[in-house]
C-alpha cells in the first residue's frame, strides 16, 4: 500500500465525493500530495542533517577530551542553525575563470542525487513516499548522480586541488558501488524482491528474524555493505576526496557559503541513507518485535497511527545507532591512501562480495526456511552478534568507570557524567 496514493484517494473521496479511478483531476491531487511528501522528506533531511552535526561535534568533543559546542542555544543544540544561517549570509563567490554554469549546478546535482534516494526509504510500516518495486536498483542508480556532481565541482572550480579531489572521489565512489551493490544483491536474493518495503517485510521484529543473522554470508554482507557505504559517503577512513590535510578541502575548496552548505548537507543526508538502507536490509527495518505487520495494517484510527509511530521509532533508533557508529569511526581512524583505497576495493572487497553472493545463494537454496538447520544457523549468529555487542558495551562501561574513578581522584567529587580525562 502506498501511503501517498492512499492519502490522495481518501482526500479525493472526502473532499470531492468522487471515485478517484474515474475522476480526471486525480493526478492533480496526487501531484499535490507527492509534493507534500517531498516537503516532509526535505524537512526530515534538514532536521536530521542539522542536529546530527551538533551530535557529531559533541561526540567528537567527548572522544577528544573536549566539550564541543555548548554556548549556542541550550547545550549548543542550535549550533547547526547558526552555521546554516551564517553560510546563507555569506557572499556569493564564484572564482574567476571557473566554469560558471557547472560551478552553480554541481551542488544541486550532489544534493539531488542524495535526496532522490529518500523517496524509497521505508520509514515505517506504511511510511514510504514511493514503494517502487525496483527500490534497491533505483537507490543505487540515483546515488550515482553524486559522482557526476562531485566531478563537476572539482572540474569547474578551476583549481588543481579541486580537480584532484573530484577525480579521486569519482574513482572512489564508482569503485565502491560494486561491493555495495553485491551485498545488497545478496539481501535481494534472500528477500526475493528488490522493493525495500518487501525486504523489510521479509524480515521480522526479533533479532533472529533479521537478515544479518540469517546466514553467515549475509552477516558478512552486512559489514561489506557498511564499509562500502562509508566509502560511498566520503567518511573517514575513506575521506580522501575532502582530505583536509592533503587537499585543503578537496573538491569543495572553492565553494563558500550556501553552495558549500549544500555539499555538507548532502554528506549528512548520505549518512542517513547509508544507515537507513543498512537497517532496512539487514537489521529488520521498522519491524516491531512481537507485532506482525498485518496487525498494524489492520488497525484503525489512533491504533494505526500508534503502530506507524512505533515502527518509525524503531527504524529511527536502529538507523541512529549506525549513524553514531559511523561518527565514532570518523574520529578514531586515520585515512587510507588512494591506492590502498582502490586495492581494498578491487582486490579484497569485490572478491569477497562475489563469494558472499554465491554463498548466500547456495545456503538459501540448501537450507529451507523454518527448518532445524536454519534455526541453528540463526541462533549461532545471534549469539555471536550479541557477544560482539556485549563486548562493545563492556568496553564502554570499563572506560566510563575508569573516567569516573579518575575524576573522583582528581577532583574529589562524584560525577555521573565525568568529563573524559581532565585537560
Amino acid at each position: 500500500m502506498n501511503v501517498v496514493h492512499h492519502a490522495a484517494d481518501r482526500c479525493i473521496r472526502w473532499a470531492f465525493g468522487v471515485d478517484p479511478a474515474a475522476w480526471p483531476w486525480t493526478w492533480v491531487v496526487e501531484a499535490a500530495f507527492l509534493l507534500l511528501a517531498a516537503a516532509v522528506l526535505l524537512a526530515f533531511v534538514a532536521l536530521f542533517a542539522g542536529p546530527v552535526t551538533w551530535v557529531e561535534r559533541r561526540v567528537a568533543g567527548r572522544i577528544m577530551s573536549r566539550i564541543g559546542p555548548n554556548r549556542v542555544g541550550p547545550q549548543g543544540s542550535l549550533q547547526w542553525l547558526a552555521d546554516g544561517i551564517k553560510c546563507f549570509l555569506k557572499e556569493d563567490l564564484i572564482p574567476d575563470g571557473a566554469d560558471r554554469p557547472l560551478f552553480r549546478l554541481a551542488p544541486y546535482l550532489v544534493f539531488g542525487g542524495m535526496f532522490g534516494a529518500f523517496v524509497v526509504l521505508p520509514f515505517g510500516a506504511h511510511l514510504v513516499a514511493a514503494d517502487l518495486n525496483v527500490g534497491l536498483l533505483y537507490l543505487l542508480a540515483v546515488t550515482s548522480l553524486v559522482v557526476v556532481g562531485l566531478l563537476m565541482a572539482g572540474w569547474s572550480s578551476r583549481s588543481k586541488w579541486a580537480l584532484f579531489g573530484g577525480v579521486r572521489s569519482a574513482a572512489q565512489l564508482v569503485s565502491y558501488e560494486v561491493p555495495a551493490a553485491f551485498a545488497l544483491l545478496a539481501v535481494a536474493l534472500a528477500a526475493g524482491t528488490l522493493s525495500l518495503q518487501g525486504i523489510v517485510g521479509a524480515q521480522g521484529g526479533w533479532p533472529w528474524d533479521w537478515f544479518v543473522f540469517r546466514n553467515p554470508f549475509l552477516f558478512v554482507a552486512f559489514f561489506l555493505y557498511f564499509t562500502a557505504a562509508i566509502a560511498e559517503g566520503n567518511r573517514t577512513p575513506f575521506d580522501l576526496p575532502e582530505a583536509e590535510s592533503e587537499l585543503v578541502a578537496g573538491y569543495n575548496v572553492e565553494y563558500s557559503g550556501m553552495r558549500y552548505l549544500f555539499f555538507m548537507f548532502a554528506e549528512w543526508a548520505n549518512l542517513w541513507i547509508m544507515s537507513a538502507v543498512a537497517t532496512a536490509c539487514f537489521l529488520g527495518g521498522w519491524q516491531v518485535p512481537g507485532v506482525p505487520p498485518d496487525r498494524i495494517a489492520a488497525a484503525e484510527g489512533w491504533a494505526f497511527v500508534g503502530g506507524e509511530a512505533l515502527s518509525f521509532a524503531i527504524f529511527a533508533a536502529k538507523a541512529s545507532a549506525l549513524v553514531l557508529l559511523v561518527i565514532q569511526l570518523r574520529w578514531t581512524l586515520p585515512r587510507l591512501r588512494v591506492d590502498q583505497l582502490m586495492i581494498t576495493c578491487w582486490k579484497y572487497l569485490v572478491p569477497l562480495a562475489f563469494a558472499v553472493v554465491l554463498g548466500a545463494l547456495v545456503l538459501l537454496a540448501l537450507v529451507p526456511e523454518g527448518g532445524l538447520a536454519d534455526s541453528i544457523l540463526r541462533a549461532t549468529l545471534v549469539i555471536f552478534g550479541a557477544a560482539v555487542a556485549l563486548l562493545y558495551g563492556r568496553r564502554i562501561r570499563q572506560t566510563y568507570l575508569a573516567d569516573r574513578d579518575l575524576y573522583r581522584r582528581m577532583e574529589g567529587k562524584d560525577a555521573w557524567y565525568p568529563p573524559y580525562r581532565l585537560p
Partner: protein
C-alpha cells in the same frame, strides 16, 4: 555589555539627522531603525555564533592557536571551528610573523575569503613586527597588508587571551549594523 557611548545606532542616527537640526528628538533617531536593529541583532547572533577561522599559522603563535583549539580552552564551544580553505572561513587569525615573502600570500588569502570577513592580528609579530621589528625581512605588522579588526598582544598570547579575542570579536559583530544603515542612513 556595550555602553551608551559606543552605541553605534545613536551615532548613526545623529549622522543621519538633517543638517541645521542641532539635536533631533530621540524618537526620530531611534524609531525608524528599531526593527532594523532587531533584525541586525538577530542576524548577527547567527553570524557570531558560528565563526569559522582559517587554519593559518606562521610561527610560534600558531602553536598557541592549536592549543586554544585543544581541550583546555576549546574554541569549538563557541562554534568556532577551523577550516582549511579560505573560501569557507570568516575569520583570518594571523598567528605569527609575516615576512615580505609571505605578505603577498596573506593578501591573497584574505582576498579569497568571502565577505563578511574579519582579521585578528594575533601576537606581537602580527601586531607590529614584535621582536623582529628591526629585521630586514619582516613586515612590521600585518595591518600593512590586510585590514585588521582586532589586535591581540602577547608573545605568544595565552589561549585564554585568544579566547577573549574571539569574544570581543563576537561583541564587535553584534554591534554591526547592516539593515539599520540601509534604512536609517
Amino acid at each position: 555589555m556595550t555602553d551608551e557611548s559606543r552605541d553605534p545606532l545613536l551615532k548613526d542616527g545623529a549622522a543621519a539627522a538633517p543638517a541645521g537640526d542641532a539635536s533631533p528628538p530621540i524618537e526620530a533617531v531611534v524609531y525608524p531603525g528599531a526593527i532594523a536593529t532587531r533584525l541586525d541583532h538577530f542576524l548577527n547572533w547567527f553570524r557570531k555564533s558560528s565563526i569559522w577561522y582559517l587554519l593559518f599559522a606562521t610561527a610560534c603563535c600558531g602553536i598557541e592557536l592549536m592549543q586554544t583549539g585543544g581541550p583546555r580552552t576549546d574554541l569549538d564551544r563557541f562554534g568556532a571551528v577551523f577550516r582549511a580553505s579560505p573560501r569557507q572561513s570568516d575569520l583570518l587569525i594571523v598567528a605569527g610573523t609575516i615576512t615580505y615573502k609571505m605578505a603577498d600570500r596573506v593578501r591573497l588569502l584574505w582576498a579569497q575569503m568571502a565577505e563578511p570577513r574579519y582579521v585578528i592580528a594575533m601576537g606581537s609579530c602580527a601586531n607590529s613586527g614584535g621582536l623582529f621589528q628591526r629585521s630586514y625581512s619582516v613586515v612590521c605588522g600585518v595591518d600593512k597588508v590586510v585590514p585588521v579588526d582586532l589586535y591581540l598582544p602577547g608573545c605568544p598570547p595565552r589561549p585564554e587571551a585568544l579566547n577573549e579575542a574571539i569574544l570581543r570579536l563576537q561583541e564587535k559583530m553584534h554591534a554591526e549594523r547592516w539593515a539599520a544603515k540601509r534604512k536609517g542612513g
